[in-house]
Symmetry: C2
């Protein structure tokens, strides 16, 4: 007899069925014992009323893995309107220890460090598994939206010879008799691959050796990377990003409605086009509306982003806001300047509910511009960039792209207070396991 | 005017169109100049016959990025039956250096080291881009097959506290004030996630610090990983693997027929079920058929695999052959033994044309079995495994899985002589760039 899932029982009423899963909980109600069996699709009630079967349940702990064979019976009182009677119960994997925290309550009541220490079992809680199903949905929606737009998937190396984004925040790896680094992003590779496929994307891990312990940073995360050629400027990239965000959210609504409901997700407000504000104008707005003069500063503080997020919601009914034209000095050396005012860049951040979710922009595409930009930044040794620059020597079209942090997307979609709650097995200053 | 792609010109005959791409080659035939413009979808012929336009082409090198506006005209003599006349040509990115090797010949004529040194442009060659489009197709076919079977995608950390597969072949990472390692596989994590989603898969990089320089090994590759719960034994895993392989090849045939033809791919012979041979019986067969006595040896040599591959082709008309029951001693400590003969394991390799493509099997699922297996292997310090073993303490179903190497799949499908030819930017003993 083939195993059926708990959500399939309704179409097997009157039959003897075979189920398998975890002992979610044992309940005694009015002298009858109910065993709740959980599998990946749901939970079903099993009625245990013979002394022999009851004896077998003696001392059985939650999470014991069971195979249950029984009669599927319609029962209005049972959760889902169906229950299993006359069960034969076989133990596939016994449990001898009490769980570090209960998994069978609607809310998971473990503190964050305790949860993370025991994530290998904690992730079985319904709220956790729903959240990481949403993560899978975000990746699938991202790929589907880009496949529709003619993008090709790539997988680029994570072991690299030189730091891609500059700075000291790069992990060193002992690579035989020399040192390699872990890629901080697939930036160079996705640009190079625009020369091959014009439009590319990658879903993969990136590594940031930032020695900060904040609620918004982890040292390894999943980056959803996009790069595209033959653009006018960054506005073409923003248009694709808008379609991708919309595509992801449509995919979640179509395929993950139950998970969104279970996690009380509030779907973002999105006008047909996301509003955009130019960086110096954003600073003017902050002065006029909130009285804080940040004009001349090279970046926005988190509070500024929050204010701008509120403003976008009020003025445009949008949870998303593009801020464009960040000053060149704060952007990486491959950033394309605004041709009509080269103090500012053809780059953007996309704020989601007042927090940066995506960074992107147009890149330099001319070989000489790379040499000049590297020189202007004082990069005296171009050795590590040589093989990268070669792509630009041989004809690269105007191009640009962006990167979405998977965990941050989930964090902001669900209003989580710590990015670790959106990360399967987070890595931070103190945590490398499980 | 919006850009159209070269493969769309046929539906714009008689119109003025706007194209963009790379200068593939310049040809003079019978006093007329033809410019071949390449974009991601193909190549189109542009007729250049006015002195002004000709002057603009003076000294222009291949791979120059161009925008071409012109009339789409049906012309039986032109490749594809259409050409562009009265062109206006604008240079988007000039090229000043000669290419390291020509990109506009049907065959790429660079030696492997030269090609790899200049991969950032070499990948633009039509044979190379076709190959890596196939790689994208393998990933997409893999995911589609597993999504259909109820699997959930996961992304697990690559920075880990302990070597997953044992052995010394692990890269160390300076992780703040301690040492982390690069995951040799997502083995532990995919097993743990069976406790959450029952059926999971992951596409991601794995890292092997093997100090070997062979045509079949690279130090970073893309692993297509699968793990599934509630199995009878390894045969359920083999059945899913068979469907996945079939799903990938169906996907390639449906969506990548042009690339398969361009690369002269010979599609594998596949009977409805892949044949399987038990390890000691394979050794007997080798003795009887080829006169070599390898009975008692713990593994198959490459020559043995080749013989078995030939035999499967002759006896079953199959390019695929499962070898099951490898001796326990040669398999990792999480391997499930064959209950009726514990010298052998419930594991398998899948040979593809006489070379190992996939390794998989049933895993141990009982906590005590993990403790016993680790002790039997002489692992005295269980510390690094502690958080992993916790998943088994709290009820794990019988489970198993497998891993397919993406690059090796492409290598064997196309009959390539070196895995580096199937790797976007290979990492080996001496190569970390580009």
């Amino acid at each position: 007899m083939d195993r059926i899932y708990t959500n399939e029982i309704g179409s097997h009423i009157g039959e003897r069925v075979h189920l398998a899963g975890w002992l979610h909980t044992l309940r005694r109600m009015g002298g009858i014992n109910f065993l709740l069996l959980r599998d990946v699709r749901g939970i079903v009630q099993v009625v245990v009323d013979t002394p022999e079967t009851l004896a077998g349940l003696e001392g059985m702990l939650p999470e014991t893995v069971l195979r249950v064979t029984g009669d599927a019976v319609a029962e209005a009182q049972a959760p889902g309107g169906v229950e299993i009677r006359r069960p034969q119960i076989e133990i596939l994997s016994p449990v001898r220890d009490a769980l570090p925290f209960p998994l069978n309550k609607p809310e998971l009541k473990a503190g964050l460090p305790t949860f993370l220490d025991h994530a290998v079992v904690g992730l079985r809680h319904g709220q956790k598994s729903a959240l990481f199903r949403l993560s899978a949905g975000v990746m699938a929606g991202f790929r589907a939206a880009l496949n529709d737009l003619g993008f090709t998937e790539i997988q680029t190396p994570k072991l690299v010879e030189a730091a891609t984004e500059g700075g000291a925040n790069v992990f060193g790896v002992k690579y035989f008799d020399r040192t390699a680094y872990l890629a901080q992003s697939p930036q160079f590779y996705k640009q190079i691959m625009v020369g091959v496929f014009e439009r590319v994307y990658e879903v993969g891990p990136v590594f940031r050796a930032e020695p900060h312990d904040t609620i918004r940073h982890i040292n390894e995360y999943v980056s959803l990377d996009v790069e595209m050629g033959f653009i006018r400027d960054h506005r073409d990239v923003m248009a694709v990003l808008t379609r991708v965000i919309r595509g992801i959210l449509d995919h979640l609504q179509s395929h993950y409605a139950a998970e969104l409901a279970q996690l009380s997700a509030v779907l973002p407000a999105m006008p047909p086009e996301f509003p955009a504000i130019y960086f110096p104008e954003a600073q003017e707005l902050i002065l006029q509306k909130w009285g804080e003069d940040c004009r001349g500063e090279p970046d926005l503080a988190p509070q500024h982003e929050r204010w701008l997020g509120e403003w976008a919601k009020q003025a445009y009914g949008s949870d998303f806001l593009f801020v464009t034209g960040y000053p060149m000095g704060k952007r990486p050396f491959y950033t394309h300047p605004n041709p009509s005012d080269p103090r500012y860049s053809n780059s953007f951040d996309l704020l989601f509910r007042g927090t940066e979710l995506v960074t992107g922009g147009q890149r330099l595409h001319l070989y000489q511009d790379y040499l000049d930009s590297a020189a202007a930044r004082g990069y005296t040794d171009l050795g590590p960039f040589e093989t990268y620059f070669e792509a630009f020597k041989y004809g690269m079209p105007p191009h640009g792209g962006f990167a979405i942090g998977l965990e941050r997307f989930i964090m902001q979609l669900l209003g989580l207070e710590n990015i670790r709650l959106a990360t399967l097995f987070p890595r931070d200053l103190t945590r490398l396991a499980p």
